[in-house]
């Protein structure tokens, strides 16, 4: 996996914890269809955990637009100023 494809460790850890899948692997191209258990219900739990971790709040427009995991990381990076 190249750096451009990699997911920040904090995001990966959050997905693994919420979905209870310690060995889960993710890339920026990962979509909900690729991950067992990543559904609209667990997604809200993931967003709550990411909000706490990064000190941000998601808006409606950001929640509506979720092509893949990369788009979520881009939103996090833009909001937090961290490399997400």
């Amino acid at each position: 996996m190249s750096d451009a494809d990699s997911i920040p460790p904090t995001v990966l850890a959050t997905f693994r914890a919420v979905l209870d899948q310690p060995d889960l692997e993710l890339t920026r191209a990962t979509t909900a269809n690729d991950v067992e258990g990543w559904d609209s219900l667990s997604h809200i739990q993931i967003l709550v955990a990411l909000e706490r971790e990064f000190g941000v709040r998601f808006t409606a427009a950001e929640i509506a637009d979720l092509k893949d995991l990369g788009s979520l990381c881009d939103v996090l990076a833009a909001k937090s100023g961290k490399s997400a």
């Binding site: 979509t31 990543w38 609209s40 709550v48 909000e51 409606a60 509506a64 637009d65 979720l66 092509k67």
Partner: protein, 310 residues
Amino acid sequence: MNSSAKDQTEALLAHIFSRNSLQRKRIEHFHATTPAAREGLEQFVSLYAPYLATAGLSWETVGDAYLTMVGQVGEARLHFMRTGNYPARDQTEAREQVYDRPEVMRPYMLGLAVSQFLWSHHFACKNFFERQAEALSSLRRILEVGSGHGWFTFRMLDLCPPTERLTVLDISPTSLELTKGLLRTLRPAAVDEIEFIEADLMTHERPEHYDFVVLSEVLEHVDDPAGTLTHLHAQLAPGGFLYLNTCANCPAIDHAYHFRSCREISSLVRECGYEVVEEAYLPSENLPPEELERRQLDVSYVAILRKGGR
């Protein structure tokens, strides 16, 4: 179903799926397990297309409106999980933020209209309503409170047309405009016979007047659900029916009253003098009732209620 409706349905879904992979997963699963919902969506698309054309709207616009609504519900759910409260403090704030703002209300209603065929509990609510409406007959006067996107109004004209008058009352001018627009296209002969009233329900008084009142997705929008139910009880003729659709633990941008459970709603309607003819708890997720309540997940309450005395 003509190929055009099929193509338009596929284009609508493709538009949604390309922008939100979670919605793709959810909707594909729902349609795979409930083919009637997918067929219903195609019928909806077929019927709705002439209205969209008249209104100068595209299916892409409807898809975007749906996704906007999904985002708004998601943001409201996040607020609810952080604070335990719905985002709107009361019905006045909901009115200011949503009902009185066409740029918010219009896409919100378009999104809700199509959600009837994309969300399992909204589809179940729609089916419950249609089954109940079809079973009612000899209705002279009907009152629909909060017509929203207008789809239920349209369906009533087919399923239980009143012999005397259908009154549609809504606090939102945008809702009335959407409902009138839909009916002008789909049932032009009927629209001029309908009485449209822009008002707060609590100011509308016709004691013992209506045989059937439709209160769909309204009760969670008011500050005083008991007062609303009692007010409507007085407007019903003896033996009249009320269709109720509301929800527990269902944060949204314009929901003001937080019901903690469907049992709470079921108790309330009885306390307000109604007999429950039939009721159902329709969950947004396929989980056991205790788990839904523990996690405070959205459950719709639908019922056909009766005022005693006939």
